[in-house]
Subunit: 333 residues, 3 copies
């Protein structure tokens, strides 16, 4: 299932977003709208979280075929703070005990009146596949798909940049590290390119660069110094050993020496540059603690924005489905 | 612990249902009443789920000694949509870590003011055993007990038949497959017989027939063609390999060839016959996808009815306990 | 990290309790206040649980590095009945899948606007360590720390004694069994000593006595008969095999013969003495079923009090943080 098909599959007949499978195909306006709504939901730690009843009476099921407590909790809190009922299914242990197919699990939950499936999988294709089979009132949110796509992470990265550095068209953003295996790099790059980022640099060893032809509009660098020179934003990535055919080819110490984001390397960037990382961090591999916990770090703000972005996406998707239902009812009546 | 004792144990001194351990001993009126209330809670996918506050302030604990995500989620959503607090305990992994007995776990949760225990176990006897020990205001719901009993499944099957084919006394129902190991077959048969089903046929190879003397009033067939001939309802069962002493005696391919519900076999039934399956399905063993996903299938409707039936049972049990409390208070005062 | 540092760390600059790490350093008035509030939340089984909105809009995360379904559920219900959102993280299986540090997990959850961390760990030091790093509006509740501390258990034990036997200064309390490895013995003793218990006896074989110098004010006994003679309260402890360097040194049968609390041994205590156990019980090792389930047993009441005590602690901590926030805002404004 190609990324393009995801871009089409995620809209209803009237063109409204009813799933979020990928950031491919989203317009600048759509991205801005989601970011504005997310901003509305942002609270700083110490304040009570934003809360409304946009998902009152709705049911959200978290289906994680790949474990991720932090992302699951982020979606869970986003849904609960919008008034939804949430059920968590650990698909690793429970799903296939009795040999049920994924689609039967989905149909079963749909018949229990689940409205939204939040899905994460290590393999490509599942979110699009499921979205092509669910009923018209049911939505699928991609919470991480292989190395391909992690749309809410892309949105939260852009929201963080916008909060700290303003509009992206004036900015130079460097994404550093294991780009080849990173769904974060792909989704964040897509959002930045659609929003007309000033300059996007993909900075990695040749062996971890994206496929040829991917992410047109970005410039590739194979030197860290060159890649971060003058950048406004330096985003380190997690090394995705679990997605490497031969994980031993990357030695953490060697990687750190050449590609780790350190205070020293950062000196080449703009003095007011911010540093980001999607987490969970391998401290001392992709990034030093000095930088991760330092004044330029926006890493915790990314996490806070993550809940806000997921609230914005959930509220938007559910409202779009509701609108569609009203229209369908009007046509039928 | 015999089934009969379950039938007695599940009533309070005034004869009200305070547990649901088995469908044995429930009267036609009681079944009708539960089905009518369940019907009140039914919503079609696309509508908001039914929701009220019948369980406001109550706490429901799901104790699954045998894993079943789908049934656990069905009970969890039923309880949440009635306003209850729900806690899930994975009894496989967590319960016996410290060697606590089941009854101590129950007493502990009861002391935390849990009102309802929803229990599933691969062994027989636990729900009745627990119900004999809990306090008078606490209820036990059997969510699947060995090969013996699965009362809410029996109710949802009958509700589905009633919705699609009308009153059961005019109908011929064929239950097909591994009847010997099926708690579903036993509970559904019991409900159908009590409601005066026109004809009940238990269709299986001799090796998978129920014990001699079981389910009086049903006719046994050892030919699929003969068993489904003219039937209004054909219910396929899951092969319960996990409950077979020698699971290798049933070869999936052989079983499918002789006992699988296929479009071809179905031609012998009435043209407007419906097809059911309790799930999760072994597609290509008990049933073909063509039939499971076809126009005659009521399988997803069964799942939707499952939540409604569980809401009806929870609301009824809790109301009965409340009535008993009021009376006990009056006597005491 | 010493216990003393926990006593200091758990207060804000104005001296208010913002964490609960240990009962060390709590004044008699503070303990009384927590116990009084807990008493306000106590309901007997059969009543609806107490419920208010003290934690409305707040988020509580249960982080259990050591498994304990019963304690996790007790905290979960306490938080839900105060209106909080609750997320459960099984830190054994999920946390370290991707090698994230504990502190990064905490920072991540804090950035998602989690207000309270409930933590249990088999190693000493984690609650204090975390409390030293979280933001000023975030609280840490110690739900069991190695052999050192289990403050809510200490409170619920004292609450139970107060309910059944009145003020502790008139009472003789005997704690019996594996005191050396028991966090319960340490926290309960601390609370009793602060409240001026009449007499506190630590009754154990020499090999399971506390360290020399620990728990000054208590008297040590190495004979069960002598230790329980004339006691008002006999509290049996769980044998903590999992915390023993050489677990084989304690043979259950030998232990039972010499240190098990039986009806016979209990005859030496006062006739109206109560018997307690923190659970889960090893029946037939530390205590007989006859005693555990007998008329003198207060064991289930301890469990009921556990939820009430946790509600009182959560409500107090959150109110203290709120007061601090208001003052901080006033100073800033």
């Amino acid at each position: 299932m190609s990324i393009e098909s995801g871009a089409e599959l995620q809209r209803d007949q009237a063109g409204r977003l009813r799933h979020l499978l990928t950031l491919e195909g989203l317009t600048r306006d759509e991205l801005q709208h989601l970011l504005d709504l997310a901003q509305f939901y942002v609270r700083v730690p110490g304040e009570l979280p934003a809360r409304d009843q946009s998902l009152w009476g709705r049911t959200v099921a978290n289906l994680f075929f790949e474990p991720s407590t932090r992302t699951r909790v982020s979606f869970e809190l986003a849904a609960k703070r919008l008034g939804a009922d949430v059920v968590n299914l650990d698909m690793q242990s429970s799903s296939r005990v009795k040999g049920e197919t994924v689609l039967d699990t989905i149909y079963t939950l749909q018949a229990m009146l689940v409205d939204v499936f939040v899905m994460r999988d290590a393999e490509p294709g599942l979110p699009a596949y499921v979205s092509a089979h669910v009923a018209p009132h049911v939505s699928v949110l991609n919470a991480g798909e292989a190395h391909l796509s992690h749309p809410t992470q892309g949105l939260l990265d852009v929201l963080t940049i916008r909060q700290r550095k303003g509009e992206v068209r004036n900015l130079s953003v460097a994404i550093v590290g294991d780009i080849r295996h990173s769904r974060v790099a792909r989704s964040t790059s897509r959002a930045l390119l659609t929003l007309g980022v000033g300059e996007l640099r993909l900075v990695s060893p040749a062996s971890l660069a994206p496929e040829p032809g991917e992410l047109e509009g970005a410039r590739r660098h194979h030197s860290l110094a060159e890649g971060v020179a003058g950048a406004d934003v330096v985003m380190a990535l997690r090394i995705q050993r679990e997605r490497m055919a031969d994980a031993d080819t990357v030695d953490p110490e060697t990687f750190y020496r050449e590609w780790g984001v350190t205070a020293e390397n950062l000196r080449g960037a703009r003095p007011d540059a911010i540093v980001m990382h999607p987490g969970p961090m391998n401290r001392g591999v992709e990034i030093t603690s000095e930088v991760a916990d330092g004044a330029q770090s926006a890493i915790r703000q990314q996490v806070t924005n993550g809940v806000a972005v997921r609230m914005a996406v959930l509220a938007t998707i559910v409202r779009n489905v509701q609108e569609r239902n009203v229209e369908a009812g009007r046509r039928a009546g």
